[in-house]
């Protein structure tokens, strides 16, 4: 293999597994260290810079970072990255925060932007662009901003006050909000004097289930996301005693848990697929089951049973999953008789779709065969140059953090566009690498690796939370537990940096490494090298760091996979050929225009 080019920041970026997996590349280990140091406000601001809604995301994020966390390679559970984010939000000091969060008024730059939809995507564009002097107009049909964070995510998971505070930080920047305003024509907006327009209208349509009885039972059969919205806006206050929720995603989990709080006693979730293949996150399933909601898998809906205009229940066909050679699944009926389940109300939560009925089709805006706007996946620009998309409206329903990440890219594009720059002239991330050495066994990060298991976030009493749909279930970590959980982080951004010309090949590093990451051997191609390392090297998603040729004709090969970032290699190296260096990586933001 060629020597690894560690001067390319993308190499070390990939080593910080959580940050790399986060769509917005939040500097996770950095905020976790700040939490351990009780610097909650600073930890909050690190998050706020990257993901805009730390308080919201610390409760609701889909957390793609956690399955990626390095800790899962040496033990069962990742660091509670998400719930530590909430710690930063819970213990932040509002007064100190005011020093960091820009409030304006900002010197106008003469450009005007329209944002359609007021969800996390549009709000992020607003936050990124307002401080640069843009005049920003945000339109949403709802009476307040937040999009699905407000209309869909139930208050027992996300209190409205938390959402209001974080939306407030943005709208206080002088955003012109036009709530209760449904945009019924994109043309009407494009025709106005906006320099650029951003569409962040989400994926607002819940999928329907057209099977017999659907029309007859209409009064008691609801589309999940519409029903949740009507609960959020206090139009719906009750549900029947017997409830069936159809679907295996997170919406189904919110529907069933909300039903429990609105009078549903016999609430069941029924899914077509096997339990293990449900789309809902494991923790959402756990929380539902904890609230006495059984999840019945391998049942396909056949019919709504309606008698004399009254919904009585549903019929299901039992199936089992079979897989072909390519691993594709088919659900095969077991042949058993159909199963009847009693229901006063049914909630359909089987997926969401995009819908753009308010967009005229003669604007020069191209749509693809799925009726989605054609977009550049880097710039988020549509085929109408001044029109940009982001969030669920761009590539279909995802989650909040993805909407935020899209919006950062779109904001950069809008800024470049308005400044007359090429959209491809995108700013680089801000990166740095700084030695952490303070003494022979002394590093400026906590290099000791704890063996604590993941701490559990305490919950409020179920008797109380089931009575009040606005009472938050999770209580968050106290400070002492937060500290210990923070200590579980391995500081993957403390990088092992190798300087071949200093190495005397004493083997001390290879001998001391607890996880046998380091091998000195003759060079070869990647597969060959991986087969000759001191420990098995099976995780091909993790890179090998290969040094230049050493005097004995060997190379140093480090498998990044199992590195604990404990720094022992650097401590045992007599010549400082290894050094632990803190790597920082901040994704580029709108406003850094690169002229070139």
């Amino acid at each position: 293999m060629d020597p690894t080019n560690t001067s390319d920041p993308e190499y070390f970026h990939k080593v910080v597994d959580c940050q790399y997996a986060c769509p917005a590349h939040t500097p996770v280990p950095e905020y976790i260290r700040l939490i351990a140091a009780e610097k909650y406000t600073e930890a909050y601001i690190i998050n706020w810079e990257s993901n805009v809604f730390p308080g919201v995301l610390g409760r609701t994020c889909d957390r793609p970072c956690e399955p990626a966390c390095r800790r899962t390679r040496v033990e069962d559970q990742p660091v509670a990255i998400c719930r530590l984010k909430r710690v930063a939000a819970d213990y932040r000091d509002e007064r100190q925060l005011a020093e960091y969060i820009p409030t304006g008024p900002f010197a106008p730059n003469g450009k005007k932007i329209a944002l359609i939809g007021g969800g996390p995507a549009s709000l992020t564009v607003a936050r990124d662009l307002a401080p640069l002097g843009y005049e920003i107009h945000l339109f949403d049909e709802q009476p307040a901003g937040g999009g699905m964070m407000r209309t869909q995510i139930p208050s027992f998971r996300l209190p409205i006050s938390v959402l209001d505070e974080e939306i407030g930080y943005i709208t206080n920047m002088g955003i012109h909000t036009h709530y209760n305003t449904f945009v019924s024509s994109l043309r009407s907006i494009l025709d106005k004097d906006y320099d650029a327009v951003f569409v962040g209208t989400g994926a607002p349509r819940g999928k329907n289930l057209e099977i017999p009885g659907r029309v007859e039972g209409i009064k008691n059969i609801h589309i999940g996301i519409d029903w949740l919205q009507s609960v959020a806006f206090e139009h719906t206050h009750a549900i029947g005693r017997n409830v069936i929720v159809l679907g295996g995603g997170n919406t189904a989990m919110d529907c069933c848990r909300t039903s429990r709080r609105l009078g549903g006693e016999n609430v069941r979730v029924v899914v077509r697929s096997p339990f293990t293949e449900m789309k809902a996150s494991p923790w959402e399933k756990e929380d539902a089951m904890h609230e006495d909601i059984p999840i019945i898998d391998n049942h396909v809906p056949v019919e709504f049973v309606v008698e004399n205009g009254v919904l009585k229940g549903m019929l299901f066909e039992k199936v089992r999953a079979e897989y072909d050679a390519k691993g594709r699944r088919t659900l095969v009926p077991t042949g058993e008789p159909h199963v009847f389940m009693e229901a006063d109300d049914v909630l359909i939560a089987i997926g969401q779709e995009n819908a753009f009925p308010w967009i005229e089709r003669d604007l020069g805006l191209e749509f693809d065969k799925w009726d989605m706007p054609v977009l550049n996946s880097v710039t988020f620009q549509s085929t109408v140059p001044k029109l940009f998309f982001g969030g669920d409206a761009a590539f279909g329903p995802k989650n909040i953090i993805t909407a935020v990440a899209h919006a950062h890219h779109a904001a950069i594009s809008i800024d470049l566009f308005c400044q007359g720059e090429s959209l491809m002239n995108r700013p680089n991330p801000l990166t740095n690498l700084v030695s952490q050495k303070m003494g022979i066994h002394e590093w400026s990060y906590d290099s000791v690796v704890t063996i604590d298991k993941r701490f559990i976030v305490p919950q409020a009493d179920k008797k109380e939370t089931l009575k009040n749909r606005k009472l938050e279930v999770e209580l968050g970590f106290d400070e002492a537990t937060a500290f210990r959980e923070a200590q579980r982080c391995l500081n993957c951004d403390a990088q092992t940096v190798f300087t071949a010309k200093r190495c005397i090949e004493c083997d001390a590093c290879a001998d001391v490494c607890p996880t046998a990451c380091i091998t000195f051997t003759t060079n070869g191609d990647e597969t060959d090298l991986r087969s000759r390392l001191n420990a098995p090297s099976q995780n091909l998603t993790q890179d090998l760091m290969v040094s230049e040729l050493l005097p004995t004709g060997r190379v140093m090969v480090k498998d990044e996979d199992m590195c604990l970032h404990c720094g022992l290699c650097a401590e045992r190296c007599p010549t400082a050929a290894w050094d632990m260096q803190l790597f920082s990586y901040y994704t580029a933001k709108a406003g850094i225009v690169v002229h070139g």
């Binding site: 040496v74 690796v449 004493c506 083997d507 001390a508 001391v512 607890p514 046998a516 604990l564 404990c566």
Partner: protein, 350 residues
């Protein structure tokens, strides 16, 4: 501040016949200087014991005084250990071995501990063929007392401070051969491919097994002009043969079939497969070993690898026909011969 070794290990570490990984053979974290050759030898011992599937509780580690003699704290943390007095490890080992022949004994010493203060003890352990693996971590200096020249420092070798050693060196391997040692090898701490099979072979040997390992002292004797530095040893290393240790019941694979192949069958049935690099050398011919060693010295080379093995050697207990069982397993009936026998013995003496 670290200096704490994380508890986590690579989850897919290979397991030996006992179901153990190398973890079960580790000791505590070394406190020697970073980069010390002795630490590499400790790792090689861990690897060898792991590969041989030795039960840690059946091993006893013995040492004298010196940085080298500290290393038993850094390997085989679950085994027995005795850190004795400077130069006195051989007599403690002799006592322990005579009391309990069932344990596997590993003696660790330094060049100071062996070739200076301990010389008198060393030579007797060799000539008695004590069943012990005797590893000298040879750095040509007294590391622990800050790097004074030792008796194995080569004449003309320059110290870190710049002084040149005026005395002839003691060649421990040559001396052991002279004294009738039944297993003699030399190696380099920086070459585990050679060292690990040598340690395994020594552990399988029935009798005294010396491995003299050049082990650079990074702090006091790794300077230009020193003949025990990493650079010097790498440039001047020569080997009798490349060797593979083939455990009992394993088949010697074809790749050893090439070259000048010599197979030595050890006392316990395991085999040493050697690809000879030295033409007129034969591992079972003591004179050829002495000659090869001497030739290498004339050429300014360090001869490493297996030098000599007598796989049919008779070790101390068998020479003396002492108890076949550990003393701690003997019962009163065996220890006290009874009045009748005593009278018989007494009558002979009258």
């Amino acid at each position: 501040m670290s200096y704490v070794r994380p508890k986590f290990r690579h989850p897919q570490l290979p397991k030996n016949k006992l179901g153990y990984t190398t973890r079960e053979y580790e000791g505590s974290l070394s406190t020697l200087c970073a980069g010390c050759g002795h630490d590499s030898i400790s790792t090689a011992i861990v690897q060898a014991c792991f590969e041989l599937s030795l039960e840690p509780h059946r091993v006893a580690k013995l040492s004298g005084i010196g940085c080298s003699s500290k290393t038993p704290a850094y390997f085989l943390g679950q085994s027995h250990g005795f850190n004795s007095v400077h130069g006195r490890m051989p007599s403690v080992a002799t006592g322990a071995y005579l009391a309990n022949r069932d344990l596997i004994y590993i003696g660790i010493s330094g060049d100071g501990d062996t070739a200076s203060i301990g010389m008198g003890q060393f030579v007797h352990a060799v000539r008695r063929n004590l069943n012990l693996v005797y590893i000298v971590m040879n750095n040509g200096c007294y590391g622990l007392t800050k790097g004074q020249d030792s008796a194995t420092a080569d004449v003309g070798s320059k110290s870190k401070a710049g002084s040149v050693n005026p005395f002839e060196a003691i060649d421990l391997a040559g001396m052991a051969l002279e004294l009738g040692a039944t297993f003699v090898a030399q190696s380099f701490s920086g070459d585990k491919t050679q060292l690990v099979p040598l340690i395994k072979a020594a552990l399988s040997h029935n009798g005294f097994a010396l491995i003299n390992v050049i082990s650079p002292c990074v702090t006091f004797n790794n300077n230009p002009g020193s003949t025990k530095s990493y650079d010097f040893v790498r440039e001047h290393m020569d080997a009798t043969a490349t060797m593979d240790f083939v455990p009992l019941q394993s088949v010697i694979s074809a790749e050893y079939g090439e070259g000048t192949k010599t197979v030595v069958t050890m006392h316990d049935g395991s085999k040493l497969a050697l690809n000879k690099l030295e033409a007129e050398w034969d591992p079972s011919d003591r004179v050829s070993a002495v000659r090869a060693l001497y030739n290498a010295r004339l050429e300014g080379e360090v001869l490493t690898g297996l030098l000599f093995v007598d796989s049919k050697s008779t070790e101390l207990h068998d020479i003396m026909q002492t108890s076949k069982r550990p003393l701690n397993s003997l019962h009163q009936s065996e220890l006290s011969p009874g009045n009748e026998k005593l009278q018989k013995i007494n009558s002979v003496l009258r």
